[in-house]
Amino acid sequence: MSAAPLTAQLSPGAGAFAIVVGAAIAFGAVPLFGSDYLMDAVLTPFLALALAAVGLNLLTGYAGQVSLGSAAFLAVGAYATYNLHLRLPQLSLIVDLVLAGLVAAAIGIVFGLPSLRLRGFYLAVSTLAAQFFVQWALTKFGWFSNDNPSGVIDAPVLSVAGVTFTSPAGRYVFSLSVVVVATFLTLRLLRSQSGRNFIAVRDHELAAKVIGVPLLRTKLLAFGVSSFLIGIAGALWAFAYLRTVEPAGFNLDRSFQILFIIIIGGLASLRGAFLGAAFIVVFPLILSRAGAALLGGVFDSGVLEMSQRIVVGMLIIAFLIAEPRGLIALWDRLWRVVTRPAAIRNT
């Protein structure tokens, strides 16, 4: 295969066997033997955040366009799914999801238009406009939340073709299926000419233009696909994980959280998006356990939240300075250390 940086990410040799084993564990063992807590509070939010991070990584990591407005597209996805389900009940939930993704994509493209003239901070600042505008609109116009006074929406029952996914295991399997399909298609896209165009635009926009890469189309494609994925992630976040959401839940902090996932996990790496999401979900749980064990009562939720902020912030800085390629680079290095001696022994 070509696309060396991509294939290098899929650890060579592991290949099909790893995929089969992984699928058996993820779709079989986990829902059968995993606790409700594990699936409800850990795995389902992990999957939603991972998909959002895949979306943002496509835009920021691969295509080099920084966005601080991811939460807006999560919100668009969630509210679009809700309204499609409410107002067009004859549609299947899968169709709702795809359409909601397309709505998010359309809005993403609109807010991506400035990217044709702006770069760097200016673009980052302009994506904040999406963040504030969407949050405002969802709170302001009751139509979006079926006239709930505070814009809160309640998730409908997840059901596809008569099969309902109400239990924690069901919602986990539903999310997993959606995330696997979406990630697979994203991987295909990244390995195609469009994917190479993203990186080309990121690495040297002028050279890309001279070669004949359509800058307009490439950037808008990145914004569109990215928002599509984040929109679907938003629907999962709202309907498979929280089940009751309000616009305030999609605030700027959420946008930063997704940006932090890809910085910590690894820019321009789909595996990094998953690793970063896992870290962001698991880390507070570990921190709160550790804090409670070490400090006891002093370690209340306020202290937890603040120390979490401090540690996450320091990690961002540390990764940017010491390992800009993120956790995934550490992981790969570790993997090589673990596998190399074995390889030598075998030969």
Partner: protein, 296 residues
């Protein structure tokens, strides 16, 4: 009939709060001009300064002493941030530096609240908020005071960077860091003075905003008010920050009063961004920003 007196009132109110936006924006511009960093942590620094000051005052330390101590802490904070975070990243692309300051803002916000608690502190700097009646136009006394303080500080900085030796080196570094280095300017000293200045800005702005809104977490969000100002004025122009701040202040208030009702209100949150965005599409480097010719 159209109420012109009311229009003027709204406009003046907007311009006065605009001066405070300018003040925050200048904190950004100083650092941007010398280190090429959009310091997102400026808001967190502001929160940290205000919280520290209030907490000291609540512990029965006099205003001037609390001010001096907080200022010292801010300078130390600024200089150590420059050392520990920005210097190791000096040759990285600007957007990486930006993300680092994003992380930094989390650290500072977390630390400020871990240290001083998360409750809201009132801050009374002794200015009554009885509106002043000038020829039938009511103007908030507090706004006027805040604008005066902010305005003088802005003027002070403008003079400092125009007429002092450090100011001269500052402009040289901003113009061409390599050339400045080559002629023997000590970059670290310029950086340190810039971070000191931004610490002062953070403190003063923190106190002014804190007195108005209460000293609490949301104070760090003032940074979000400054961003459209920067976009409008250009990240690298002090004049742009001043005029951009006034413009945004005025536009925000006018939009809220005259356009807001059409949308059901609350458009303050994004009106400034939309205005800035529209301007960006016409002039990608702001009203006053330097237009860089890309060399191939």
């Amino acid at each position: 009939m159209f109420d012109y007196q009311f229009l003027i009132e709204v406009l003046v109110g907007g311009l006065l709060s605009g001066v405070m936006y300018s003040l925050v924006a200048i904190g950004f511009v100083l650092i941007y001009k010398t280190s090429g960093v959009l310091n997102f942590a400026q808001g967190a620094m502001l929160l940290f300064a205000a919280l520290t000051f209030v907490s000291l005052v609540e512990r029965a330390i006099s205003f001037p002493l609390a001010f001096a101590i907080t200022l010292a802490i801010m300078v130390v904070l600024g200089v150590s941030v420059e050392r520990a975070v920005l210097r190791p990243l000096v040759n990285e692309p600007p957007i990486t530096l930006f993300m680092a300051t994003l992380g930094l803002s989390y650290v500072i916000e977390g630390a400020a609240q871990l240290l001083w608690g998360t409750q809201v502190h009132g801050l009374d700097i002794g200015i009554s908020d009885v509106p002043l009646d000038i020829a039938g136009v009511f103007i908030s006394r507090f706004d006027l005071f805040a604008a005066t303080v902010a305005g003088s500080l802005v003027a002070l900085f403008a003079l400092f960077f125009r007429y002092t030796r450090t100011g001269l080196s500052f402009r040289a570094v901003a113009d061409d860091p390599f050339a400045a280095l080559a002629v023997g300017l000590r970059l670290p000293r310029v950086w340190a003075s810039v971070w000191t200045a931004s610490g002062i800005v953070a403190l003063v702005a923190g106190l002014l905003w804190g007195a108005r809104l209460g000293v609490q977490f949301s104070l760090s969000l003032v940074v979000l008010k400054a961003l459209p100002v920067l976009v409008l004025g250009g990240f690298d122009s002090i004049a742009g920050a001043i005029i951009g701040g006034l413009l945004i202040g005025a536009i925000e208030k006018l939009a809220e009063v005259y356009v807001g009702p059409l949308f059901g209100g609350g458009i303050e949150a994004w009106a400034a961004y939309v205005v800035a965005l529209v301007l960006l599409l016409v002039r990608p480097s702001g009203l006053f920003g330097q237009k860089l010719v890309e060399r191939v």
